[in-house]
């Protein structure tokens, strides 16, 4: 747990290197959203969350994180490895036969740090609400965090969950939305407009915060603010304004790198833009 910005940025740079190398290594996976959400996951696991890499499924007494947009598994796996959940050498097995690092996160292979399978979109908010309700029953004052894609908000189950949490005062929950404006088939504006997201979440009864999702100072500030607002009767959602593909110039701001792997030349070009800070796996 640190609030040292340069230390966190160093972790983020290494995680981004891991992401492009993992996706290149198996020639599949989702680099765009992974790069865009790197800063948020680093801020959570290295600063905001109280968690134990020795990992127990129940997570009693710990803050929990649920990745609902499971396709950005590369960033999740890299952050978990650097946080000490498993050896970072295992990142090399991503999406390969017999690996615990499946294409989308799963509990099925018993990878430490993963508490639910995700990938089929729209389910993680409900799971997080259930886990948050269990914490209340257990008199456990720790928190539950989630991350969702903005395109994922097109799934109806999200809005079932969005209605449930405020009605039932699930105020130990901090959700975050990766607002990058992109999905597989193009921009969210063109595919299916999300409208005024801030107003939508307010209308559903949530306490809504916004942050620059690729700015570590902004993320630490919004997470501190979000945590200070828990326990006040409302669930909290943070709208993270990110760039898909952040950190690699030719991947940024376009849906084209949502689910495409770089070739050898593109890998070299990407790694040239990302400093090796903690050693490659």
């Amino acid at each position: 747990m640190t609030t040292d910005i340069s230390e966190l940025k160093n972790v983020a740079s290494q995680v981004r290197r891991d992401i492009v190398r993992m996706v290149h290594g198996c020639q599949s996976g989702h680099p765009g959203g992974s790069l865009g959400c790197t800063d948020y996951l680093v801020a959570l696991y290295f600063s905001a969350m109280k968690h134990d890499p020795k990992f127990s499924m129940d997570g009693i007494g710990e803050d929990l994180f649920f990745l609902s947009n499971g396709h950005i598994s590369p960033v999740f796996y890299s952050v978990l490895a650097h946080a000490g959940y498993f050896d970072k050498a295992e990142l090399a097995t991503f999406r390969k036969i017999g690996s615990r690092l499946q294409g989308h996160p799963t509990t099925h292979e018993h990878l430490p740090g993963v508490r639910i399978a995700s990938g089929s979109l729209g389910q993680g908010l409900s799971v997080a609400i259930g886990a948050a309700q269990a914490k209340k029953l257990n008199k456990d004052s720790s928190l539950v965090f989630t991350l969702h894609g903005d395109g994922e908000l097109q799934e109806g189950q999200i809005w079932e969950a969005a209605m449930y949490a405020p009605h039932n005062k699930v105020d130990n929950l901090i959700a975050a939305i990766d607002v990058n404006g992109q999905q597989i088939d193009g921009s969210t504006k063109n595919v299916l407009s999300l409208g005024d997201l801030h107003a939508k979440w307010v209308a559903f009864g949530w306490d809504v915060l916004e942050a620059k999702g690729n700015d570590m100072e902004s993320l630490l500030a919004v997470l501190a603010e979000a945590k200070s607002r828990t326990g006040q009767g409302k669930p909290i959602v943070i709208l993270l304004h990110t760039d898909m593909g952040y950190g690699v110039d030719f991947m940024m701001g376009t849906h084209k790198w949502h689910g495409t792997a770089p070739n050898d030349a593109q890998l070299a070009q990407a790694l040239g833009q990302l400093e090796e800070t903690l050693g490659d796996y």
């Binding site: 929990l64 649920f66 508490r115 995700s118 089929s120 799971v127 259930g130 269990a134 189950q157 969950a161």
Partner: protein, 327 residues
């Protein structure tokens, strides 16, 4: 002296009738008393699922989700992460087909200790009609790796099964129904998941029945006995894991089979039994099941007769099965 049915057919009687969903309600209350980790969720059907007594006893352990079954399934998966044992309650239709992907990913693949409790299964839901009469749920649930699938036959067995699944670690689908039916099993029974119950030993034909069809099978056994046919009747309350040993042991004696279920003949108990027999002991088999169709509005009795799910149809199927035996 003619052989009376009483000599070959164990006598089953009943003094009371109740709905199996009330057995679930009673079992849920008891499970809640025995283990404070048991919690319940319902999607706006508390009365239909008979969950009032649990809610009155443990209000803080109950979650009303509103008409939002997908969210309910996800929440149930999440509650297990804090060590809870969640029981979800809604109609069988909304417990399975409507939320198949939520069950598949967040519960089955994630191996969460969720008990999916489904009322109003099958044709006996009655007048509401085919929109609500799911006949595919056993198939949907048994295809999920790791899912246990249970379809008890009366109030007492449903209550015992509800208590038993709370003590079992892993995802379970528990299916029960709306109509009032005879109570003929032991009120103090110990429910063993995956262990078939020998209702009546016989030599001429094996009748494997589940759910509401068990009582019909008993009625059929009495009629067959009057005609000198000695039917073995086995209650397969657990569709998965299937008690293959009990099935094979019975078939080795009788040489022919009738399966009886309130389900589409595709994907239900009959197909599970057929798979065991085809691979281990090929045997003539007749299905008593809905013939790949949707249901319709009507009283439960009218529907069970019209769609061929009553004692008379089991008797006819038994005779067809016996006729197919190779001498």
């Amino acid at each position: 002296m003619e052989r009376g049915w009483g000599e070959v057919m164990k006598k089953y009687t009943y003094t009371d009738k109740k709905d199996t969903r009330s057995g679930f309600g009673a079992g849920l209350l008891e499970a809640g008393k025995r283990n404070d980790q048991v919690v319940a969720l319902c999607a706006d059907l508390i009365g239909s699922l008979k969950m009032q007594d649990f809610i009155a006893a443990f209000p803080e352990r109950f979650f009303q989700t509103g008409i939002a079954e997908a969210n309910m399934m996800g929440m149930a998966a999440g509650l297990t992460i804090g060590g809870k044992i969640p029981f979800t309650g809604t109609f069988a239709n909304f417990s399975t087909g409507r939320v198949y992907d939520q069950i598949r990913q967040s519960i089955a693949y994630s191996n969460k200790n969720v008990k999916i409790c489904a009322s109003h299964a099958g044709l006996t839901l009655g007048e509401d009609g085919a929109t609500h009469q799911i006949l595919e749920d056993l198939g949907l649930m048994k295809m999920l790796p790791g899912m246990t699938v249970i379809n008890p036959c009366d109030y007492n067995q449903t209550k015992a099964a509800t208590i038993a699944i709370a003590e079992y670690e892993g995802p379970v689908y528990l299916r029960f129904g709306r109509p009032v039916v005879p109570i003929f099993t032991d009120p103090d029974q110990k429910f063993e998941i995956g262990k078939a119950w020998m209702v009546n030993e016989g030599a001429d034909v094996s009748i494997f029945a589940t759910g509401h069809l068990v009582w019909e099978a008993i009625q059929a056994g009495e009629k067959l006995a009057e005609e000198g046919i000695d039917a073995e009747i086995i209650n397969i309350h657990t569709i998965k894991p299937l008690d293959a040993e009990a099935i094979l042991a019975s078939v080795r004696k009788t040489g022919c089979v009738v399966t009886a279920e309130e389900h589409n003949r595709l994907g239900g108990l009959g197909d599970s039994v057929a798979q065991v027999l085809a691979t281990k002991l090929p045997t003539p088999q007749e299905y008593v099941a809905v013939d790949d169709s949707f249901g319709e509005s009507g009283t439960p009795e009218q529907l069970m007769t019209k769609y061929g799910l009553d004692a008379a149809h089991i008797v006819a199927a038994a005779k067809r099965a016996i006729a197919r035996k190779t001498k």
